[in-house]
Symmetry: D2
Subunit: 342 residues, 4 copies
């Protein structure tokens, strides 16, 4: 089976990573590449690392251009996906890397995004309980946010096993590509190199309700998430440090066993051997999460740490994995767990 | 008054930063510079940035060499300070940048450092309630660890005002100079650039009991600290993201007011205007902490964030500030709050 | 003598560095800070590292605001300085950090900048033969470009001593602050971290005629300069690798002797001991150039390498040094040769 | 055809990159992984990014362990390859990533490496005139040094077409992985981040005679190379800025035409469109060189710039490409020209 795939938003970071991965996928043929302000340019100027596509032209993001593909990946600014998806028809698999169809709660959507709720699509994190089944055969999938990918993979085993109190605290460091490619003075290399800084503190980051929704579903009761994102001086990667109070009587062996059980068969998650801690370099460019967990006996908390590449497992790799799941292809097809290090 | 100062451990990062600051101090004359394996070398080879001291020779760290100075700064590996200090006599001001005299609890010391407890000296964080008075006139001072400096400045106002529950959760990102200058494969530039990684997870980091001790003292009851350090790809800087559950009835205005009150008169701490978040670049090379605080209403937590330079306010600047306090000099003398950015 | 100084362009990188240095200058009182789009904002938002000036307001760049100061530093986009300077009167010392008054040759100016030539002011590189004398008492000074500062300090001793053929080849790596603070997609942290890239290749960089002009003057005959700038993943610093064929019969000892003689009395240039090579970290934030030179016997070329901080010795430090020279203050006043490393 | 490949030196950077590429090669099965001090450890501890090989054990580098493979890649310290190769027999393809068999001139070898010359093997840079033919069917190949790879690809078209004078000047910036994984204080992250520094200046770098040998062979007459390497704050990548005086009468169109002709059919070299300049990020992890060339009319020099990944095209990718060439496999098999950016 050869799948013809289009990428809308081909000039951005998510679009570029999608193309990098799709070029390596044995069943995918790359169709239209579209953009808005970049329409008409050669891809070689915009994404010089995609050497084999250097001569391809970016076309405008219209239904005309996107129609006729088996899969359309949307890597568009928030709020644009619904209109495009509607025009594509039910036989096309549409995979949205944006936020538009991630949240189940319309009130959450309106509070955090300030626009009407577009709906909810199957959630492209197959590792989450129930998610894989929901993706099978779907023609619409919503790729998780990069932070939620890292946080849910780190914490769902604790909540699924009933080991943690419903008060998660998350601090995550992200590389700068998570903030996109549009020019901004505070994202200049001069500003970010040599600096770690906080932003979106106090519960205001848009990925917070997404984490809350899925952790609550796994836990079977409301879980609060205190989430603080920070910006780190690297282009790619998220390291999420997640913790929650351990429920009474929970011991270190219980925690380890729960994580081993939950993650044992996941091809794209590796629970590291005890004593080895995740770092983002090891998963750079890989569709892979490295996870470690510990119980702090003095503070009574479970500490779970995950490292992912925000563009790969956190966006484009998750999208391709979702495509494989939706189309009934082997989930690992065309995806690598090997990082580019050092 | 001219103060003659020696620096033991002049070839390391803490020693180099001490010399950088002492060169700018109007009342200090730099005396002996000592080292162990570097003894006999010119400082210009070891610390090429200290241009005015390039021709100075590093001498061995012995009592003979260190005697006869008004102040001796010790930037030695843990466990070496007590022996040196004993030989220096009571009229010399000894400022220890190591951990040896920071902890009050001997059991904590033995658990975390594995050697007999050497004692406790006045704590070189003048901003902490009671600390400034204890430093006045002392001839022995223990400079705080770099992480505790960042964390205590961020959290003490909340505990001093009784606003926070005693369950602090801290995730901090540090630059690599905090790990020292001894060659280690995992600290090579190739390993750290482009990567954030966790270490010392689960309560094992040696700075944990130091935070616990001082937060408990401020709070007047035992405070637990869940502390996770991470290593960020930058030479200098700590960003500490600290949180604790807000006590019932505490509102955002209470929190802001408590921080404004606690920090108003501190020359080396700046509470940023609301909406501006700390970053380490702004305090690079500065004896200054930038602080911000928020209340997350959904998660019910106070989030306090501090940025410091681990080598300056976190080590050498704190040491010079302690020297000023101990000698009765103006606390700000020779110290700058201006960062080197970008 | 207290000098009242204004900074036009206070929100940019050059302006920020000027303010950082002026805050440490014992004879300077900081007057008006001006900007264009930033007028009306607090400096603390724009330059959070300048803690002592956080509450100062940026005012518009007009003659009214700038008048009445002893010194006005202009850190403006090219082409704007002449109009401002004209309105300031002859008693005000005007120091231009822009290019407008650097080139003596009007044709060069027009070729490289595409506008009418504004004139030539004394050149703010006191180390260059004749430059110090020209600065004494001047009320107008043109600060050199950052690359020319690095290149001229590296090569003038060879040309002054008649050791080199007139065919200089220069490759320099610069930190990103040299490209300014205006948002540009190709200067995003995501783009520059982990990457060295070339630009302005083939003789087109605007600093080329400035190097050519001054090297020719020192050599007493036309010197060509093949100049290739590259962008390196660091906020600050220039490392210039400069070479020229050695004239017949020139030996390594001749080269060393010429550099020792030319640089011996310069407070802001350090010729490193043989075998030690310059790096930009050692001069970060310092008004200092580190220089080394070698003769490659097989290739028959003199290789001279300099490291500077593009914002300090390469811009703002050079400006303050020029101010000192112009006003008859000790040239070293308020300027430090100490780098902030690591 | 399935090729069973062993990697000697699997715990270093070259060995890790070899394994990363071999894992993606459709005709390769990975056999023994060997090391010296790392023998007995799991690869997952040493190379955490090679997730699929995490449980593999590193074995000692002995003939016993290496025998019985179709291909043995040697990523050993200089001087060790000859002894190992001798024991492996003539039917095994031995590909040496070290320097031992690169130089044809025994005197050059002895001057730069200080040991007896081991011999000369076919040179693993198929793009060089004559090299591809020499590799076909060989059972011994010497992979070029990383700097020579970058420099030869940039300059050979100019010399092959007779456009350049024999006085090449090269300044190259390399990422830190080129210096290896053995702990060294001057390669600590704290030292290299934020700094570009020179080393091996004056013709002393061991890659100099390798460049000279091959450029001379291409030019048909002795070419001198003035080579200055610099260390840049990035883990991977080389940007080589190479120039030589243009021969009389050579114009920009001649230069462009010569490069287009020389590089047109090379799958792993891309001559960028005019006006686009190489950067190392675009070839990160790719077996690909990006090249650009210009004629500087004022200085009369041809400037050729290449960007490669020192570990990929500069070492491990070149090794796999040589393996393909030697075994008669399609040269592009298992190798990608796609970079991991940003």
């Amino acid at each position: 089976m050869t799948v013809r795939a289009a990428v809308a938003g081909a000039s951005g970071y998510a679009g570029g990573e999608l193309l990098r991965l799709l070029l390596a996928h044995p069943e995918v043929e790359i169709g239209a590449l579209t953009g808005s302000s970049s329409a008409g340019e050669r891809l070689g100027t915009l994404q010089p690392h995609l050497t084999p596509l250097a001569e391809r032209e970016v076309r405008p993001t219209t239904a005309d251009v996107l129609q006729g593909h088996d899969v359309v990946f949307l890597a568009l600014p928030h709020g644009r996906s619904a209109a495009v998806a509607q025009q594509l028809g039910d036989t096309t698999l549409v995979i949205d890397c944006g936020a538009d169809f991630r949240l189940a709660d319309a009130a959450d959507w309106e509070t955090f995004y300030g626009s009407p709720h577009a709906g909810t699509w199957p959630y492209g994190l197959p590792e989450l309980p129930g998610a894989r089944a929901a993706l099978a055969g779907t023609r619409r999938a919503a790729v998780p946010g990069c932070y939620p990918t890292a946080v849910l993979l780190a914490l769902f085993p604790a909540y699924a096993a009933g080991l943690a109190e419903p008060d998660a605290v998350v601090v995550a460091a992200s590389g700068t590509s998570g903030a996109g490619k549009a020019p901004r003075a505070d994202l200049l290399g001069s500003e970010v190199m040599g600096s770690v800084r906080a932003y979106g503190v106090g519960g205001g980051h848009r990925h917070t309700p997404e984490m809350r929704q899925h952790l609550s579903a796994v836990a079977g009761r409301p879980v609060t998430v205190s989430f603080t994102p920070t910006l780190a001086p690297m282009p790619r990667g998220i390291l999420a440090t997640c913790s929650a109070a351990a429920r009474p009587g929970v011991g270190a062996a219980d925690v380890r066993a729960a994580y081993e059980k939950a993650l044992a068969d996941e091809p794209f998650v590796r629970l590291l051997p005890e004593g080895q801690w995740p770092g983002t370099a090891a998963v750079r460019g890989a569709n892979c999460a490295h996870i470690q967990v510990a119980l702090d006996p003095a503070a009574g908390r479970i500490i779970a740490i995950s490292a992912i590449d925000n563009l790969t497992k956190g966006t484009a790799g998750g999208a391709v994995q979702s495509m494989n799941a939706a189309l009934g292809l082997p989930e690992e097809l065309g995806l690598s767990t090997i990082g580019v290090a050092p």
